[in-house]
């Protein structure tokens, strides 16, 4: 309290306080995010879920991850693997990560640049979710697309009408990305 009064003598009061507050919130949280991600990584490693895995990217930035999902059996994606990128905000887990498909995928809820339409990655996000739950959700999304709000309208149509052509499109679109 006293320091803010002191400082406000020297500069514009409002802006300074605002930045100070923001900084104050951001500092420890950035650390918290890293800590949380470390813990999540530990959990992922000690109790991995089948078919999904994730790991921080090779550049050593804990806020940027890569993940792998294996296509579930009994879906058009069976036998395929998909790479995703996770970008975590510094106030994670209070804000959702940005998740993109790196591997090209033909899916009603994924557009051609890999963006995903999934409610828990948008407004339904809560801090209780974690990487593993997100990956499991995405895995289930592969088998059960939400055709009500498609990003890829053609895919949504084909999903219902012509599964075989859908499967062909999926295989056609899928391409193993070989990183670096």
């Amino acid at each position: 309290m006293s320091y803010s009064m002191e400082d406000s003598q020297n500069s514009a009061p409002g802006s300074l306080q605002a930045t100070k507050l923001a900084g104050a919130r951001k500092g420890p949280d950035g650390q918290n995010a890293v800590k949380r991600l470390q813990t999540e990584l530990m959990q992922l490693m000690t109790s991995p879920a089948p078919g999904v895995s994730a790991f921080p990217s090779a550049d050593g930035n804990l806020l940027s991850w890569r993940a792998t999902i294996e296509g579930p059996d009994d879906t058009p994606y069976s036998g395929l693997t998909f790479k995703l990128s996770f970008e975590f905000p510094s106030n994670y887990p209070y804000a959702p990560p940005t998740v993109l498909f790196i591997t090209p995928i033909y899916h009603p809820n994924v557009d051609f640049s890999g963006r995903i339409c999934l409610d828990i990655l948008k407004d339904k996000w809560t801090a209780a979710y974690n990487i593993q739950t997100v990956l499991l959700s995405l895995q289930s999304l592969l088998g059960e697309p939400n055709n009500a709000s498609p990003l890829n309208g053609e895919a949504a149509e084909l999903w219902d009408k012509d599964p075989s052509q859908f499967k062909a499109k999926v295989m056609d679109r899928h391409k193993d990305v070989d990183e670096d």
Partner: protein
Amino acid sequence: MSAAVASQWAQRRRRVFQSVFHTDDSQPTPHSTPCIRFPDQGQPFGGPAAPIVDRHGHGTATPSTIFSQDAAAAASTIDARSQLAQPLFPSLATAADDQVVFDRAWHVVTARIALPASATADDSFGTLPPDSQLPHQAYTSDVDFYDALALVVQAPALLPRATHTEDVVAWHAQQARSHFAQHVVPLLSGCLDDQGDEPGAENRGRYRGTRRRGDYYERHMVIVMSSIRTLEAALRLYFYGLGILVRGFYKLAVANGPSKPLGVDPELIATRFRRDIHALVGNSASPELMRSVSIVLVRLTGTILGIPSGYDSNGIGSVRSSQRPAPPTDDDLNAMAARQRLHELVEQLHNVGLAGERFQILFAEIMDSMMSDFVTGAYAGVWGASDTQSFSAATAMNTISRTAGASFTSPCILSLGDWVENHFSRLSLEVLSRVSPGAASPVKLSDVKTYQSLALGRLAALRISELFDIVLAWPSSRGALDDLRATITTTARRLQLTASFSHALQTRLLHPGCSTLEILRTYITIIRTLHALDHSKVLLGHVESSLQLYLCQREDAVRILVTGLLASAEELRVARKYNETAKKPIERRSQAGHTGTENRRGPEPGPFMTPAVGRGYRETPGTRKRQDSTPEAEPGDAEKAARDLSSTKLIELALILNDPLQSRRASPEDEDLDWNDMTWVPDPVDAGANYKRPKSEDVIGTLISALGSEDVFIKEFASVLADRLLTDPANFDQELRVLDLLKRRFGEAAMQNCDVMIKDVRDSRKVDTLIRRERKDRHEGKALATPGGQALSAQGAKEMEYHARILSRLFWPNLDREHFLLPTPIVEEQKQYESGYQGLKSGRKLTWLNQLGQARVELELRDRSVTVDCTTVEATVIYAFQDPDAEDENSSVRRSVDELYAQLQMDEDMIAAALTFWVAKGILRRVQHDVYAVAETQAATANADSSSVANAGSSGAVAGQQPGTAMSTAEDKEDGGESPRKTAGGKPAGASAKEQERRAMYWQYICGMLTNASATMPLGQMAMMMKMLISDGFPWSNEELQEFLGEKIADGELEVVGGKYRLPRK
């Protein structure tokens, strides 16, 4: 030797020559007369020739410049005076004969003052005959001499036509010089030769006496004195001639009257001559002579200053047998005599001209080394903290002024200052004032201050070099810290201190020979010492980095720290008592005064190992033992226990933790805003940029931060706490107290796990009571219903008390499950307990951790019954030796390891450990390689040692061995149900389950990394990622990781391509 003989020979030869030719008087100027040659045409014999004059180097210009007065006036006076000289100089009137007159006058003068040309042996000029007996008097009267002198001196005026005149004083000087060179110098070296038999042999012992120290000093004293006598005699001779001349000058001046000054100042001449001769003597003094002088001086000054001769400043302790330097008392006869002697010596040296610049340099050097010797000698190892009075004053001072301030001066500094002022400066003053009598006060008050600051500097250097020992001797070395605090005033000295201390740490502490416990214990004293020295902790920060770095390599450091913190109240009491008893003799000793050797070592820590590097610890085990068993220390069980304790536990930490002073922590904001803090001082200059002033010494906080993050510490604390809670169920007061203190330090949230653990233990007591009561009720009912129930279980239930502790899985560390089969009655108990628990808390299920419990086992052997508290594993193993079928009285039960393995499904290592336990208890004995048998009788146990296998089985008895009544705990964990706890696969022998699990986890990391982060990675990057990502740290080196990866490659789970690893494609 040779020189003396030679000069004696020369003298004899000369005497013979003189007796034959009577050349004594006819050659008055044998060396320096202007010329001896045939006279020029028209000149009488003896006249100098013009061109040759300058060959001798006396300027003929001197007389002409001196006699600048009116020549005519002078001539008239001389005319009058010359009448007196009539008989000797009859032809004065003839103008052309001026030169001859001069020459004759010159002859007379020089013959009078001529040095004995043959001067040789000591006594030839050692005693100079008084004036009346002078041989010259036989043929020249004083009158003649003074007339001649007048002519010679005033030649330009009186004998204007004499072309070759000379300065008689210069001649005399020249003569003296050559006399000195020819005769005195050989004699001087003769003195050296005679006395200093073995100058080479003693060269090295310049300040250090050899075996014949006394003789040595005496011999050099003789050298110096004989040299001085020789020089004195020679100088007396030279000054005698000069005296005659000077007297003549005075007479002339008187005769001339004040109106006609002579133009020559006799005083000036005399002074100049004296100076010349002194310079001559001083410069020609041989190094050997100066060495002797220095030896004599060292001895004398040493005695005066109270530094025992032969005190060795280089090897402290090696000559410690001799007493320490101490300023002599006023009535010390030795010192007074030495002082007297020194005064005489210096005066004599000054008189003969040996007290020149070389002497002063020598003296300065000696005084310098004296100061060093005194400081190191008198104060090395004297750390005693004065008495308690001044000690408390010091601490009070510390709290007031938090930095090094000279406000409080220690006894060492006081006595040193006194010594410098009253002895050192006094001596300097006395000697210097004798050496240069003219100078006004050669030692000023400011000089004394300089001396004192120099001495303090020496003291600081000494204490710095001793700092490591001071630290070890804490807290009995507080006095030394006072010294340091007062002397470490400059940044350079602080730097020196940290550098030297870091070096000492490296060589004496941070090596594999020191146990982590010792390092930590030393670290504690370092923290306290340096904090006492410098409250700002900057010094500590400078030295501790290497220590911290080293401690990080010691894996057991954290554990030792934690166990130290958790020392039980009983251990604390023992340690306190020990400290108190140990303190008494120390106080007594320090009050005894300057007996520093004893004070060197406090009672503090256990034996300390240092390698023999440099000036290592000079404490031998023998002396240590002696000290420990001093009668004052009240050797008793308490002390012994304390020593045992201190060799295994870092008990100091618990003491500190319980010290109310330590836990006081002011919040930093308070300090910053405390405008009324009158004791505020700026941060030290060598503080770092983000330096924060600490409030208290905060030993625990410093230690914890030194060992890495708080997380590591808390984790270790949790695991130690878990162990203790599981093994010592009755009482965890100490744990609670430590936990509270740690909470204050780390915050509630950080210690949450530990809270839960303690709560678990408490809750499980309640639950346990409940379950037992309920089951008892039920059992009684059951017993009523089926009175003839299972014999064993009925009996077991009656006798067995079964308690369980219910742990919350998520909050307890290190809860690995070891699989083995419990004895049937126990399994029964477990089942009942489980059902009881489920009745209490539905929806929860127990997972038993069988290996974590304790059991009390009562064994009924043939000749004795034994009750043993042991672990469940051990109990299980011994239970397996119970053989209900073996009713054969003649054989004891045997089991082989393989049988046990099959029966119990227990890990072989655990079986082996349990068997060893029982063998040690004397219950089992080993009959074959891995076959064990019950030792039914004690005789069997005893005989087992002599490997009498036959005897073992012979004594028949019932295997009346019963499983213990109170098979107390088996641990269980509360399980929320959704726990896919991983189990390691088949484990190779040697690798513990924990390690196995860890390897599996690392493999997961590697798989995840290669799947997601990058498909191919080199080893280095993988190691780096692992280190960065695993929050508990990744202890493997690159080589270990490589080995691990190599195993995986061999298993086909990994590939290496081009130096990069990758997962094989499916």
